[in-house]
């Protein structure tokens, strides 16, 4: 350390005092820099090993003819470990998947899924946030309820909705029949489009509470006198929402939209637990198609190619997100 606390208290000759900081300044800068680098290094190395390297390796795989049974052939040695490289076939995997009508139908289905999910999650998240933002007894308790759907494993989320939506023993059919609203039971997963919409809603049930938490955090930072002023001007609830709450929340709305879009594109586990992409291919999204191609049919080449088209999309959305964070939040924060 350079800033010796005794130095300032001791009487020192004036010229010496003027020189000392000038001499020390470069060395402070350098050590500060190296100290920071040392702190970041383990994480950066770790991320390089467990994210960047696998990411590049997957990219490589998407251009090769992966044969899991073959152990000979080209490989790279990494720390004495032989990682197979397989046979380079150029863009053949990409050509193959883009030729496949199933890829395109999955893509359109994914777009529907993402659109519906983003809409449902944002509207429900905002709705819940607005209700929970009101003043009432037991508000903290109600807010902690938000955390329950969000903290469940998607396997459990899927499982508990099976218990509600199942044709035979599902509680919803039981309830509707009891109330006399239906005569025959509803098979929620039999029809493809209905199964897709059930997936959207179940995922929304899991994710909208987090959007609500973000909205609530935003609502709390809206200055209260804005509301008082609006009320004095005679604004009713919806006018206050449209002209005070919503403009203040705009950055958070964008944030929720971007996060929901990414999550929608990547959703996989609920499909696994609830529909396995079926009936037929009616709930097969691009991420499920890539997952199935890779790990059910063990076609690593085309599978990683499909997954890489998703990755490209995420990169694009990261740019949007980053723009958002830097452009909208930094000046205000």
């Amino acid at each position: 350390m350079t800033a010796d606390p005794t130095r300032s208290t001791l009487p020192q000759p004036l010229p010496g005092q003027a020189v000392a900081p000038r001499l020390h300044l470069p060395s402070i800068r350098l050590s500060e820099r190296w100290f920071a680098i040392l702190l970041v290094l383990p994480a950066i190395l770790g991320i390089f090993l467990v994210v960047l390297f696998p990411l590049l390796y997957s990219l490589w795989l998407s251009f090769t003819d992966v044969n899991l049974l073959r152990t000979t052939g080209p490989a790279i040695e990494l720390f004495g470990v032989r990682v197979p490289l397989f046979r380079w076939i150029g863009i053949q995997n990409y050509v193959r998947i883009l030729d496949d009508p199933l890829y395109w139908s999955s893509l359109w289905r994914t777009l529907y899924f993402v659109g519906a999910f983003v809409l449902e999650a944002t509207v429900m998240g905002m709705g819940m946030a607005l209700v929970l933002h009101e003043r009432f007894n037991g508000r903290p308790l109600m807010r902690s309820l938000l955390l329950i759907p969000w903290s469940l494993s998607r396997v459990v989320v899927g499982l508990l909705w099976v218990g509600i939506l199942d044709f035979e023993f599902g509680a919803l059919n039981g309830l509707l029949a009891k109330l006399g609203l239906i005569h025959g039971y509803i098979a929620f997963f039999k029809d493809g489009f209905s199964a897709l919409n059930v997936l959207v809603s179940v995922y929304m049930w899991n994710q909208a509470p987090f959007a609500a938490l973000l909205f609530l955090a935003g609502m709390q930072s809206v200055p209260e006198d804005l509301y008082s002023a609006a009320e004095v001007d005679g604004a009713d609830y919806w006018q206050r929402f449209r002209h005070v709450t919503l403009p203040a929340l705009r950055p958070i709305v964008f944030l929720v939209l971007v996060l929901a879009t990414v999550n929608g594109f990547l959703m996989l586990d609920l499909i696994y637990v609830l529909t396995m992409g079926g009936p037929g291919h009616d709930t097969t999204t691009v991420s499920w198609l890539g997952f199935q191609t890779t790990f059910t049919f063990f076609k690593f080449g085309p599978g990683t190619a499909i997954l890489y088209t998703l990755t490209a999309l995420c990169l694009l959305l990261t740019f949007v997100y980053q723009r958002l964070l830097l452009a909208r939040f930094e000046p205000e924060a």
Binding site: E32, L147, E224
Partner: protein
């Protein structure tokens, strides 16, 4: 008159006492609806887990179980024998696997990720902006695209079907997040604290370890609880990488039971409830820090 009264009290989304009976009724109606929506399904999972399958199949369905039983839980703990006891017996060992993996990943994240987050919050260094963008990207990256690579790499390393392999794979989606959350957290701690520690004669490392870290409890709790929850709940990676019996975590085991015709739904519900409990309790227990940390981490970047 009424308006000025509300204004004077400090207005936030309608004050409680000045509300008309009608709007209070609407509000409480909405609150009940939100509460049922949020916890109804989870409560129903618990009810099915203490019911017999025959009562779930009975129509008209009664929402208050006519018979309450702990048999489903006893089956999981091996206290009651039944035809699928082999599968139920996997629940507890796989929960231990989940516990080991989640704890190790959390510990690694807290040590490595926190340190890096601190440096990002306080210091300037080469490639800082670029590596921050890379972090942001890895945060949004589809983990599933990494799995083929992990599959082949871990096979080459002989780490397939091991908990070590899972720890490595889980760091790929937790570490960037931890760095990000901790960076946002350290930015809320005034830099004057470190500066005064430096003036008091600490070196930079001491200022971090002895002065900043001890007051960073809330941030560490938020980062740690979130990492633990992510690992505890993770399904796809474990499902693909650890296929050998006894090597996998809880979610794949529950997913494996789900949809099997020979196992009663009530038994699966009991395993699901038991498996959900640790993460739910952890999150509820640390909710204050978690919500603050996560909203700051996502909103402020």
């Amino acid at each position: 008159m009424a308006t000025t009264a509300t204004v004077a009290r400090g207005y936030r989304g309608g004050s409680y006492r000045s509300r008309s009976a009608g709007s209070r009724l609407v509000l409480y109606g909405l609150l009940v609806a939100v509460a049922v929506w949020l916890i109804g399904p989870f409560v129903w999972l618990f009810i099915t887990s203490i019911s017999y399958q025959r009562n779930l199949m009975a129509r008209p369905l009664s929402f208050i179980p006519p018979e309450v039983t702990l048999d489903n839980y006893k089956m999981i703990f091996g206290l009651v024998r039944f035809h699928a006891e082999g599968q139920a017996a996997k629940i507890i060992p796989s929960m231990l696997n989940s516990l080991v993996v989640a704890s190790v990943v959390t510990a690694l994240n807290l040590v490595i990720g926190t340190t890096a987050g601190y440096a990002y919050a306080r210091y300037r260094f080469p490639l800082k902006t670029l590596s921050l963008f890379a972090l942001l990207f890895t945060r949004m990256l589809p983990t599933v695209v990494l799995i083929p690579a992990f599959f082949l790499m871990l096979r080459a390393l002989g780490l397939q079907n091991t908990l070590t392999g899972l720890v490595v794979a889980y760091c790929s989606f937790t570490l960037p997040f931890t760095v990000w959350i901790m960076k946002a957290y350290f930015e809320t701690i005034p830099a004057e604290l470190d500066k005064s520690a430096l003036v008091d004669g600490c070196n930079r490392l001491q200022a971090y370890l002895r002065v900043v870290l001890p007051v960073s409890g809330p941030g560490l709790v938020a980062g740690g609880a979130f990492t633990f929850m992510l690992c505890w709940n993770e399904f796809i990676v474990a499902q693909v990488l650890n296929t050998k019996p006894g090597t996998t975590t809880l979610p794949p085991v529950i997913a494996g039971m789900n949809g099997q015709i020979n196992i009663d739904y009530s038994v699966i519900a009991a395993s699901g409830f038991l498996g959900a409990l640790p993460a739910v309790l952890l999150v509820l227990f640390f909710q204050k820090y978690l919500v603050e940390g996560l909203t700051a981490g996502s909103v402020k970047g």
